[in-house]
Homo-oligomer: 90 residues x 2
């Protein structure tokens, strides 16, 4: 078993309203960044967990997304491996 | 000028309390994921913007983080390029 850190990105689906993104977009335009054309705000969730292998950790994180971390109706998610934290034995 | 999409990840600094992460951690343990040892919740912000070059877009996004997107006292941020969306002329 090793410790892994994974990054989960949860993002509002294209086409759905994102009021927080709209507010940030407006603020950035007001601050002078006029080249900004769209902002979408999602969550970045960092998961530290024990697993037998990197693949097992990624699979577990995807299951967590389907069950708890993301709303399947309104959000998409992506999971990626950040790295191994420490080997707990061999 | 080209259109670029950037991803900004804003994350609570290590050591600072993250009540949302704690709540998710507890829920995951209750759902049977006992190997999870820590959860930190941040924001993933997708910025679509026009810029002269990828480097100019990255620099602008870092300036946005310092000025608006991240709280420098409590949060760290990372900016990365997702890709070019379309070339608007040459």
């Amino acid at each position: 078993m090793s410790q892994y850190r994974l990054e989960v990105r949860v993002k509002p689906r294209p086409g759905l309203l994102d009021p927080q993104g709209k507010a940030i977009h407006h603020s950035l335009n007001s601050l002078g960044w006029e080249g900004v054309s769209d902002i979408r705000v999602g969550k970045a969730i960092y998961v530290d967990m024990e697993a037998d292998s990197p693949d097992a950790a990624l699979e577990a994180a995807e299951a967590m997304c389907r069950k708890l971390l993301a709303n399947p109706v309104t959000e998409d998610f992506e999971v990626s491996m950040v790295g191994e934290l420490e080997g707990a034995g061999s």
